[in-house]
């Protein structure tokens, strides 16, 4: 049968996917990587003089969890057919994805400072054709979950053991297309699809619940037939644990609602909506980097 997910699980047991990049489990090491990624993002956005700071910084822990603790992938062979697919739906937070990719070894970290500049592979919103390892071009909100669901349907029908991860935002749940994809993923019983929502409560014009109320999000997803897990989006071990739990739910897609603080770990950015679409100036960059350096002291020896 085309939609028999249990066969896929069996296949995974018989032929586990090739390991790709080794995964890190030490939580201190992971925290340190997340801090490095935050530093990169601050430097990138400062150099670019435009871009989206708060969301990118707030997602550093989730991207660390994915690229270093969760995804089966191989930065030296981005087209590896057995890789897990990582779809970014809210493309404007791509600085954090680029930083995580460079940290994982997809391309040299020096290239990060070319973000948004003429001739750069690091386009202002991700472009699939420009940079190996980018699974989908994105920018207009609400399109990524559909693409991820398409990949997951392909994998399910063709008995592939790889999984699909989709990072999306809370604000883009204003878009109707998201809910079309939510319905379809449940219809096709896409247990191989894990979405992670950056629930940071802000969007361009203010707080999500003022602009267009989204709650109760967990109940909405459950009503649509999804498995829902809520996590602290800055606790990397929790995020990895939730992704692993999702693997065992075969008949339903999983939505991990990751509660995050926009601009997390940079005092003047946290919770401030104006940092959604702004980049740090010289002084702000220096202060942010100094604060992140202080954090690093806690990871000595990791």
């Amino acid at each position: 049968m085309a939609d028999d997910g249990s066969k896929q699980a069996l296949l995974e047991k018989v032929a586990p996917p090739a390991p790709g990049m080794p995964k890190i489990t030490d939580s201190k090491k992971l925290d340190r990587i997340a801090t490095d990624i935050r530093k990169s993002v601050v430097q990138m956005l400062h150099a670019a003089k435009s871009g989206h700071s708060a969301g990118s910084i707030g997602l550093a822990d989730i991207f660390t969890a994915l690229y270093f603790g969760m995804l089966n992938h191989d930065p030296k062979n981005p087209e590896w057919p057995g890789r897990d697919r990582m779809v970014l739906s809210n493309g404007h937070v791509c600085p954090v994805m680029y930083a995580a990719m460079a940290e994982a070894g997809y391309f040299p970290k020096e290239e990060l400072l070319t973000l948004r500049k003429l001739g750069s592979r690091l386009q202002g919103h991700p472009h699939k054709g420009s940079l190996p390892g980018i699974e989908n071009s994105s920018g207009p909100l609400g399109q990524g979950l559909s693409i991820a669901a398409g990949m997951a349907l392909f994998a399910k029908r063709k008995r592939k053991s790889w999984r699909v991860y989709c990072v999306c935002s809370d604000g883009e749940h204003n878009e109707g297309q998201i809910w079309e994809a939510v319905m379809a993923a449940a219809k096709f019983k896409l247990g191989n699809l894990t979405a992670i929502m950056d629930r940071n409560n802000i969007q361009i014009d203010g707080y999500t619940e003022d602009v267009m109320p989204l709650e109760p999000l967990a109940e909405k997803y459950r009503a649509f037939g999804w498995n829902v897990i809520e996590v602290d989006g800055h606790n990397i071990s929790q995020i990895i644990k939730a992704c692993n739990e999702a693997k065992h739910v075969i008949e339903r897609p999983t939505m991990i609602i990751a509660h995050t603080v926009p601009g997390k770990a940079i005092s003047f950015m946290e919770f401030i909506t104006e940092w959604h679409g702004k980049s740090p100036g010289d002084k702000e960059k220096d202060q942010a980097l100094a604060e992140l350096k202080e954090l690093e002291a806690g990871y000595e020896g990791a």
Binding site: E135, S146, A149, M151, G176, Q177, M183
Partner: protein
Amino acid sequence: MIRKEMNLISPIDAPQAKKPSRDGFGKALVELGEAHPNIWAMTADVSESTRTHWFAEKFPERFVQMGVAEQNLAGMAAGIASCEDSVVFISAYGVFNPGRNWDQVRVSLCYNEANVKLHGSHTGITVGPDGASHQALEDMAITRVLPNMTVIAPADAEEARKATIAAAAWKGPVYIRTCREKMPVFTTALTPFQIGKANVYRDGKDAAIFACGPQVYESLIAAEQLEKEGISCAVVDFHTIKPLDAEAVREWAKKVKLIVSVEEHQIDCGLGGAIAEVLAGEGSGCVLKRHGIKNRFCESGEPFELLKKYGLDAAGIAEFVREARK
């Protein structure tokens, strides 16, 4: 004056079986499904109307029913097409696909260079009684403008079959436009078809009619009538709107004084618009007159009543050519 090497039915006005061009699409889809395990078909609650139900019956594991959700239809198709060598056909009415999902077509398909082929059925005024909301008259305009997109408006069911098969082998997004109404099938299996290459069906010295869709046949009949009146009219099937056969446009601009474009579409930004873009700056001295729907919504009515009212049947096209020559 009809060119024999085009292998059209003969005589051109002989009574023949009528078929909707969407049937040609559906038939080709089954042929493709049989020959290639990487072909997928998806629809948005219109499987029978778009003829994707023929594929669905044979290849249920490669058919996807999306419900009335054209945006997600395009998005999930992009996801499937990104896996291995999959080729995905997405099928709905032209007003919704590529109408409702234009942003998804632009970014998820064109910017991603996804190997997804859009099929818009029920295009033009010949969808008839459903009225203006369902008559796709802007679909070629909104697809033609997109980078990486190819646009084809087949003349009949047989050409739609060939176009569909050619689209599967063509890299990147393609939009194929078909019609609901049964129309004469005047091309044959031996009639050539190549994406981007216009077919000259009839030679002529006084004027050249460049047409697409059902108006190719109507133009051929119109040319027969005009011939009797002493007006020698070429008829060229511009089935591919993008990439337009610009060479053919330039060549005919040298041969005749008048080019008439005919399409069941707004005259701006469709076939006529594309031809105008080629002729602009050429200094050929050839005049282009565009025939089609002129910046308006149409109305309910029987398909052939509407074609008559808007001058897009053979008599209307002949009259347009006569007027254009004045």
